[in-house]
């Protein structure tokens, strides 16, 4: 900026207002209404958004961990072994795959996951863990109903 007098130079000390506000407006560029055009409203929303972003970095990791657990649990139940037995038996077999890789295998490589489940089930049987007894359906409503239909 060009100052023609010393008075203006003194009055304009501190950060340049335009560029300072422009940084905030850049962050508010995708908002709608006055939230993107009025500085005093934009700054509030930008602050809030930055707080959400900070919290979200943590939450994203938790959400992904939850998703992996859900997927591994689903994969385990397909093969008739529960999640905790599966993890415990893999650890006993020195298979130290983390939850992310196990979830990827359950989702994308079901045969690989099945072989892991077989390893875990064999180990559980060898160690005498009493978690593999799946109770068969005691009353066969479905088969009864299908019989009645015919």
């Amino acid at each position: 900026m060009v100052f023609t007098s010393i008075v203006n130079f003194v009055r304009s000390r501190g950060p340049d207002e335009f560029w300072r506000k422009r940084k905030v407006f850049r962050l508010a560029a995708h908002y709608i209404g006055r939230r993107r055009n009025c500085y005093s409203i934009a700054i509030k929303n930008v602050h809030r958004a930055l707080v959400y972003a900070t919290k979200g970095r943590k939450l994203k990791k938790l959400d992904m961990a939850d998703l992996w657990t859900t997927r591994i649990r689903a994969g385990c139940e397909e093969h008739g072994i529960d999640y905790f037995t599966f993890k415990e038996c893999l650890a006993r077999e020195n298979v130290f795959l983390n939850r992310k890789s196990l979830a990827d295998l359950a989702c994308w490589e079901p045969y690989t996951f099945k072989s892991l489940a077989d390893i875990a089930k064999q180990r559980a049987a060898d160690d005498g863990l009493n978690c593999l007894n799946r109770i068969e359906n005691s009353d066969h409503i479905l088969s009864k109903m299908l019989k009645n239909k015919k």
Binding site: A74, E109, I141, L142
Partner: protein, 178 residues
Amino acid sequence: MSTIKRVQQWATFARIWHIYDAAWQNPFESAKLLRKYLMGMHKPIYHPLNDCGDHVIVINSKDIALPGDEWKKRVYFHHTGYPGGASWTLAWELHTKDPTLVLKKAVYNSMKGNLQRRYTMERLHIFPDSNIPENIMKNVSNQLQQLRPKPTRLDSYDEKYVKEFPKIIDYPKDYILR
């Protein structure tokens, strides 16, 4: 197995129809089980944005069993929106009005309140008895296991079986059975 077929999954996104017998089952514990199948959480491809839930048919919902004295104590609240429009219905009253509603509300409340919840509920088909329309029954390919076994009552055994059942003692002739 060839390298290409190693990751091949047929009919991954197909919807499966399950059937569940609610007779003598706790609806609030059953809701957790049904929710899992309705939302597709029993599949390794599950993702909250992934529409992979299955259909569940629930039969015999009129024979559900509430724990303890919940038939008398559990209250369902409704408000019409007008002043004085609040109403409280006991579980047994609601059950006499519509024998599917207690279970339906249990499943609905067991899910998180988001936009997907109502579409997920569309995949739940509850019937008060075991009379299911033919066009629905023909889709069924799996039966969900009951959470607890349904006990057989003494009057449902045939008389001969009861009479011939091994017993330790015979009552004396002058013994009065009450």
